[in-house]
């Protein structure tokens, strides 16, 4: 590299009279102007302690990325064969069977994930649609209507609920929610059955995606509430006061100030919940009737769920089917990633306006 200082136009890099840090030549346009100094390259030399800390933090930050990448590679590698032989059928067909002869050798097999993909999305969407209003209401309540001790207790219990083992939600859903939700499903079907979404071909309402969605909703409400509340709590006080000073009631203030400000947080919380709902295994496995047929009727007692499928089949799967399950895992992984990207996009778009 040639030193570009005006004192030593042709000096070599080890030229002593040139500042050490000036490594990048100034842009030509600037250098041409007669009396303008060249822009300096500004650098900082971090201290040793800073460097060490930086290395530690970088390692920590990268490790989660690396682990995530390795998991994806592992799943892709294991499921590769199935993905190739099944091709697009893996995502469009709904059959999941392995036929063996009397010696236990595989005669033929067919793996299709369509019903499970649809089912996963249905359950998760039901969950999010039920959870959002409840979460927003409780977040607003926690942020604007309670104060002091009660607020601390309520926040603590919401956080506790988020850490609840999901099998307990499953039990509760199975023994307590199911009999009641079946009745609700009948009511919905009776009065709103003309909407295709709420129609059923057969009057079977147990273990439906609707029920699984409800259990999931209860599971994700704490996390969505907690994210939304944190954002609502940060609503700028000057704006809140401006609204009150204009004669706003509390509700009017919330509509004009808190909701626009917290919209990004609500969407973000909901997406976090959606991600969790899609990946949830045990609770759904307990309450959902898994059927290898695409079913769009959320009240009908048949559904699918990728995570539950893996749990259901993994125990007695032979090597070939394990590979198929790995491929299914990869599909779930990508689906979650996709949802997160979309969520991120929505949050970025809707977040700015109210701020």
């Amino acid at each position: 590299m040639i030193c570009s200082s005006s004192v030593h136009p042709f000096a070599t890099p080890d030229c002593d009279s040139c500042p050490k840090m000036r490594l990048m030549p100034a842009p030509q346009a600037l250098a041409d102007a007669p009396n303008l100094p060249k822009p300096r390259v500004i650098t900082t030399e971090p201290r040793l302690s800073d460097k060490v800390f930086r290395a530690v933090v970088t390692a920590g930050g990268l490790s989660s990325l690396v682990i995530l990448g390795l998991i994806a590679v592992f799943l892709a590698y294991q499921g590769f064969e199935i993905l190739v032989t099944e091709g697009l059928d893996f995502f469009t067909s709904s059959k999941w069977e392995v036929i063996t002869d009397e010696y236990g050798d595989v005669v033929s097999y067919e793996f299709g994930l369509a019903a499970m993909l649809v089912g996963t999305m249905l359950c998760a969407l039901v969950a999010v649609f039920v959870a959002i209003p409840v979460s927003v209401a409780s977040a607003l309540f926690l942020s604007f209507y309670v104060r002091g001790k009660l607020k601390a207790i309520l926040i603590g219990s919401v956080d506790l609920m988020a850490a609840f083992p999901s099998i307990l939600f499953g039990f509760w859903g199975f023994f307590v929610l199911m009999p009641r939700a079946e009745y609700w499903a009948m009511l919905i079907n009776k009065y709103l059955g003309w909407i295709p979404l709420f129609a059923v071909d057969e009057r079977v309402f147990t273990r439906s995606p609707f029920l699984a969605g409800l259990v999931l909703a209860v599971m994700i409400i704490p996390i969505t509430t907690s994210v939304a509340r944190e954002v609502f709590d940060q609503t700028p006080l000057d704006r809140v006061q401006a609204a009150y000073a204009l004669g706003a009631t509390k509700w009017a203030m919330i509509k004009a100030v808190a909701l626009p400000y917290g919209r990004g947080g609500v969407v973000g919380g909901a997406m976090l919940g959606l991600g969790r709902a899609m990946g949830e295994t045990v609770a759904v496995y307990t309450v959902l009737n898994i059927v290898y047929d695409i079913n769009w009727q959320i009240l009908f007692g048949a559904g699918g769920n990728i995570a539950s499928l893996i749990l259901l089949k993994f125990g007695e799967a032979r090597p070939l089917e394990v590979q198929a399950l790995m491929a299914a895992g990869l599909a779930l992984f990508l689906l979650t990633l996709l949802v997160n990207f979309i969520a991120d996009f929505i949050v970025k778009k809707s977040g700015k306006k109210g701020r």
Binding site: R147, G148, P236, D238, R239, Q241, A242, A243, Y244, A245, L246, G247, A248, T249, A252, M253, A256, V257, P260, Y261, K353, G354, R355
Partner: protein, 306 residues
């Protein structure tokens, strides 16, 4: 709500005022002692202009934050059609006092108050009073401009109507009228659909003034409205205050003695020496600045302390 001046006559008047004020400013820069003369040369307001309400009266107001007694026994009568400046060193309770005047004080969890505040003769703290109605009549402009960023400029002006669920027959006219009165119309008339945050600080503050005018308050409280603004915007807002004072009661907190002398008819000097803040002296602005009765007032207005 009716306009007393048309836009054309307004801008002519503005120019005149501007000239006058720059003259005053240059005077006061060369000779700081001329505060008293600034206070005296002020244009006198035409009597008999259409007045909204009959003013605001504080009677024996005390304020506490928790156990901390910060304001002691303040009694002032703010007559309609006048501008009153509240001056005093930092922490003496000026903001606390004006926040008791529209019941914003009670938003601080530990806050308490005693005494009475009479709006058009009625105690605003009387049980059964609708607070939102009080705040509609007693508007407030804050130190930091705080337009609603999720709303457009036009929507910001109308925010008060929306928040208080009031009906308005002609919204466009109202927006124009309020923006003209706040001295912002010419700068924003072509960009009413832009967001409120897309304005400069001084413009945002004038937008906030326009916003509080839209609900036609009888009283306007201003807590250091110009402290974050450049001299040009400050001048604009001072003109606005003079115009508004023809029809309403204005109470302004300021740390700028020049400003107090320029815009106010009456001045109240607050002070706290260790204990709760008290009102040391209250009187005509010309008196306070030329011939204060209390030594402490004199020291403060001449810049010898505080």
């Amino acid at each position: 709500m009716t306009m007393s001046t048309t836009p054309e006559s307004l801008s002519a008047k503005q120019k005149e005022l501007e000239k006058k004020m720059t003259e005053e400013r240059s005077q006061s820069h060369t000779a700081p002692a001329s505060l008293a003369s600034v206070a005296q040369t002020k244009v006198s307001r035409p009597a008999g202009a259409k007045r909204l309400g009959t003013g605001l009266e504080a009677r024996g107001v005390h304020a506490w934050f928790g156990k901390n007694h910060v304001l002691s026994d303040i009694s002032v009568d703010f007559a309609s059609g006048t501008v009153t400046a509240l001056i005093g060193p930092s922490g003496c309770g000026k903001s606390t006092f004006i926040r008791t005047l529209n019941r914003m004080h009670e938003f601080i969890p530990t806050a308490a108050m005693a005494g009475e505040v009479l709006l058009d003769g009625k105690d605003i703290y009387a049980p059964g009073t609708d607070v939102t109605k009080i705040r509609l009549k007693v508007g407030m402009v804050f130190q930091k401009p705080n337009p609603f960023p999720s709303m457009t400029i036009g929507e910001n002006v109308l925010a008060g109507l929306r928040l208080a669920q009031l009906k308005s027959t002609n919204k466009d006219d109202l927006v124009e009228e309020c923006l003209i009165r706040a001295g912002l119309w010419n700068e924003v008339k072509d960009r009413l659909d832009e967001h409120g945050g897309a304005l400069s600080g001084g413009q945002q503050q004038r937008l906030c003034i326009a916003r509080s005018l839209a609900v036609s308050p009888h009283v306007l409280l201003m807590d250091e409205p110009c402290s974050a603004l450049d001299p040009g915007s400050t001048l604009r807002i001072e003109e606005t205050i003079s115009e508004l004072a023809e029809s309403m009661t204005i109470i302004i907190v300021t740390h700028n003695m020049q400003q107090a002398a320029r815009v106010s008819d009456y001045t109240a000097f607050f002070l706290s020496d260790g204990g709760p803040g008290e009102m040391v002296e209250y009187g005509k602005t010309s008196e306070i600045f030329s011939n204060p009765k209390d030594k402490r007032t004199e020291n403060y207005v001449t810049g010898r302390f505080g």
